[in-house]
Symmetry: C2
Subunit: 213 residues, 2 copies
């Protein structure tokens, strides 16, 4: 599996593969055994040839007339996407959103284990009720030795986003998952993903307002 995992996949493929996984998991829960790319295509409005191409990255091929075996496809997708492995992460900023993400047990089902949190607020740093230890950000170098992590999840106020990312990367984090609306810059070689909650809110509000005309 490691060899396959090492392919750098195009972003659009990485966007579509979780859709396929969610869909086949739904079929699995409904005891469906086989699915064709035509069925997946109809359900997700993705071209059937695109689906076959995306799935060929996994070395999974459907059988003529029968299609893909649902259980094998679900397992293959989950493993291929890294959701079956454990990836260790730090929560940088444990205020409202950071706390919410720490408490969201759903992330661990997708292979993300938050092993520690960091903050600057003494009242947050002293918290023991979040299920993971919370440290002052100054201790991140030391904690990286005893309890390392490769992913830094950024949930700090905007004005601290760049500095916090720099500190986490300095301490050894290899990927930044940015939940702040601030456009954080990272050096080449550092993985960067932005989850733009606020851009999505802006989109929803704008489209709703324009409907009210």
């Amino acid at each position: 599996m490691n060899q396959i995992n090492n392919i750098i996949l195009p972003e659009p493929t990485l966007r579509r593969l979780p859709w396929y996984l969610a869909y086949v998991e739904t079929l699995q829960k409904n005891d469906v055994e086989f699915v064709s790319s035509t069925q997946i295509s109809r359900a997700l409005s993705v071209d059937a040839s695109q689906i076959a191409k995306d799935l060929s990255f996994l070395n999974i091929r459907g059988k003529t007339r029968i299609g893909y075996e649902v259980a094998a496809l679900a397992e293959g997708l989950s493993e291929f996407l890294g959701f079956s492995q454990c990836h260790r992460a730090y929560m940088i900023g444990c205020g409202s959103l950071g706390e919410a993400l720490i408490r969201d047990s759903g992330l661990s089902k997708y292979g993300l284990e938050i092993v520690a949190g960091f903050d600057v607020n003494p009242q947050v740093v002293s918290r023991t009720d979040l299920g993971v230890p919370i440290y002052h950000i100054d201790r991140i170098y030391e904690i990286m030795e005893e309890n390392p992590a490769s992913i830094g999840i950024l949930a700090v106020p905007s004005e601290m986003a760049q500095e916090s990312a720099d500190i986490a990367i300095g301490a050894g984090v290899k990927a930044i998952w940015n939940f702040t609306p601030y456009r954080v810059k990272v050096a080449e070689g550092i993985v960067m993903a932005n989850t733009s909650i606020y851009a999505h809110l802006a989109l929803i509000f704008n489209r709703l307002n324009s409907m009210e005309r």
Copy 2:
């Protein structure tokens, strides 16, 4: 302001405007009074002419040699993006992620007020500790009369995503903000935004794995 709010903005502009807002709010906290598009351009790696074009939607224009007034720009952006208004939303699915989003007070700062939650699990429906009432999904029509909302935030298991969206839309919700990995389909005229947490995880894991080669 209503007239301006009614413009349907292109998605890329709606993605960039929150970056500008986060940046100027950072300047504001540091008591900076004026900012030029060149400065914004350098900080965010967005073309200066693009910034001027994006901001022209707001009818905000910078002054020669001085640039934009930071406080006015922050207020204008926040208002234009709808973050200063209150938009009422239902949380559909109040499990781990739904609960986390209800608890995230950050959303209300950006104009999103979650006024009620819906679930099918009796243990969740009876909860009174979330700050908003949680109802059985069957009651959504009735609740829409007394405590209406225009946005449905979807945080249910994948296999219930489509059905839940259909119910919420049937009850009168005009926009679906989908946090599930399932690709939900909605009728034309319904606003749809996907926050693909799992696609971002897949991206991070894939890039990290390929670095380890």
